[in-house]
């Protein structure tokens, strides 16, 4: 790794300038070194940072500048951590020291960023004065047609149908085919079923709803029976009472000559 050298003028100058300078303290210097090395705080490589930190101290000494004691202290601290790490990888104490360093670096950086944001707020805030002094106006009423322009692909229809079918399959029961018969096919005439039901009620009196289906041999016959019950109810010829599970059927009035289904 080629050891980068840092612009000392900047470092020196920074001490004389106002707030928020790069190397106010050792932590700032470490943060700077981290960013120059494109290193995350968590992935700190103590060797690299230490070398560069010492190089910086050395350079300052060569320029005959006074180096603040806190920078020296930090150097010894970094060296301490590195030594412990060299001695044993599993050194918990060194790890704790390292964690503490990382924590203070993060805290430092957070403060720095927050400081920058507060600076930026100061610059942005006056601009907001403009927005407090203007008014916009609502749109003029324009008549919009209700006819929308749609742009769809024919394939959208296929996809929509696939979705419908997909959902229908997931919705079992009842299967969709069960209804086909209701809507379309009527191999068992509903009318004759109705007559059958009425004559059965006449003969046997009140019965249970489910019993009406006893003996039905096909699905279409069940459907026809069911439709006949519905139609008879509608015409107030029979009356259904009770609950979902226990439902009784009784005749209310005579079956008229020409009941149309």
């Amino acid at each position: 790794m080629d050891s980068p050298v840092f612009k000392l003028e900047k470092v020196v100058r920074s001490r004389s300038e106002e707030e928020m300078q790069d190397f106010e303290g050792p932590l700032d210097l470490i943060l700077f070194l981290l960013s120059k090395n494109k290193m995350e705080i968590q992935d700190i490589s103590i060797s690299t940072i230490l070398e560069q930190y010492l190089a910086w101290l050395e350079a300052r000494k060569m320029m005959d500048l006074e180096v603040a004691s806190e920078f020296i202290t930090m150097a010894s601290h970094l060296m301490y951590i590195k030594t412990r790490m060299l001695l044993s990888i599993e050194d918990e104490e060194a790890q704790t020291e390292m964690d503490a360093l990382i924590q203070s670096l993060e805290e430092r950086r957070r403060n720095e960023n927050y400081g920058k944001i507060r600076q930026a707020v100061k610059r942005l805030e006056p601009l907001g004065e403009f927005g407090r002094n203007i008014e916009t106006r609502p749109p003029e009423p324009v008549e919009h047609g209700k006819i929308y322009e749609y742009k769809q692909e024919p394939a959208d229809l296929v996809l929509a149908m696939a979705e419908i079918q997909n959902r229908a399959e997931r919705r079992l029961p009842p299967p969709r085919t069960a209804f086909e018969a209701i809507v379309q096919h009527e191999p068992y005439p509903v009318e004759s079923k109705a007559k059958e039901i009425v004559s059965r009620l006449k003969a046997g009196g009140m019965t249970r709803f489910l019993l009406l289906f006893r003996g039905n041999r096909s699905r279409s016959e069940v459907v026809a029976t069911f439709l006949a019950v519905l139609e008879l109810c509608r015409a107030c010829i029979i009356h259904l009472a009770g609950s979902e599970t226990d439902c009784t059927v009784k005749q209310e009035q005579e079956l008229p000559e020409e009941l149309k289904f």
Binding site: E135, R137, P138, E140, V142, H144, G145, K146, I147, Y148, E149, Y150, K151, Q152, E153, P154, A155, D156, L157, V158, A160, M161, E163, I164, Q165, R167, A168, R171, R176, F179, E180, V183, Q184, H185, E186, P187, P189, E191, S192, F261
Partner: protein
């Protein structure tokens, strides 16, 4: 506001008129500018003349004691054009589903759509009617006489179709022998249609003729 010159007063009035979407009472302008009515009226008139004379895109309307800015009728067509440029919309998934069912099973009823989708589609059907993507075309001759719907020309346009024959072929489409209505409004008997080679299997055809026999005879 004695420290304002005429031009500034005019601009201030313009600002007031602009900020209000509605007609502005002369009184308001008088109060805001601390000017008497004749002066304000004079300024308003001047502003009105300026817009008209310079043929600006804005006009000032005077209605009794109120004044209102509006866009110039000279550019009404262009303005309308600017607003009518809308990105063609996309149909929502429910709307697309309902429309698909109508497209393939037309003419058919809302009840049939509900049955296939398993949910109530009345809102969506209303929407498609309003957007002129489907239209009513008679009633089904069954109890309750439910309305029949079919797709419109607008539908064909939205999907870049020349005719319903261009509808993409649908795999496993269950045609259930429901009566259909032809383009010219005549009722197509499903059986007659079945007699054509069609995609239906023979068994299906038999069941259907059986069904219609039942209907006819009993």
């Amino acid at each position: 506001m004695e420290n304002m010159d005429m031009k500034e007063i005019e601009s201030a009035i313009e600002g007031i008129l602009f900020a209000s979407g509605e007609p502005v009472q002369e009184e308001r302008i008088c109060t805001a500018l601390e000017l008497d009515k004749p002066t304000v009226q004079q300024m308003l008139q001047k502003l009105m003349d300026y817009y008209a004379y310079e043929r600006r895109g804005i006009r000032l309307l005077h209605m009794e004691e109120t004044w209102q800015l509006c866009s110039s009728p000279d550019y009404a067509d262009i303005i309308r054009k600017a607003f009518e440029i809308r990105k063609p919309a996309k149909l929502s998934q429910p709307a697309l589903e309902v429309l698909t069912i109508f497209a393939y099973y037309q003419p058919t009823t809302r009840a049939y759509v509900d049955q296939i989708r398993g949910v109530d589609s009345s809102y969506t059907v209303g929407l498609l009617l309003e957007r002129k993507l489907i239209e009513e075309c008679g009633r089904l001759q069954v109890p309750g006489r439910p309305r029949l719907y079919r797709t419109t020309k607008n539908f064909l346009r939205a999907f870049h179709l020349t005719s319903l024959n261009d509808l993409p072929e649908m795999p496993d489409l269950i045609t259930e022998g429901q009566m259909r209505i032809g383009d010219n409004g005549e009722i197509i008997d499903p059986d007659a249609e079945m007699a054509e080679p069609a995609e239906e299997e023979t068994t299906e055809e038999e069941t259907q003729s059986e069904a219609s026999d039942d209907m006819d005879t009993e």
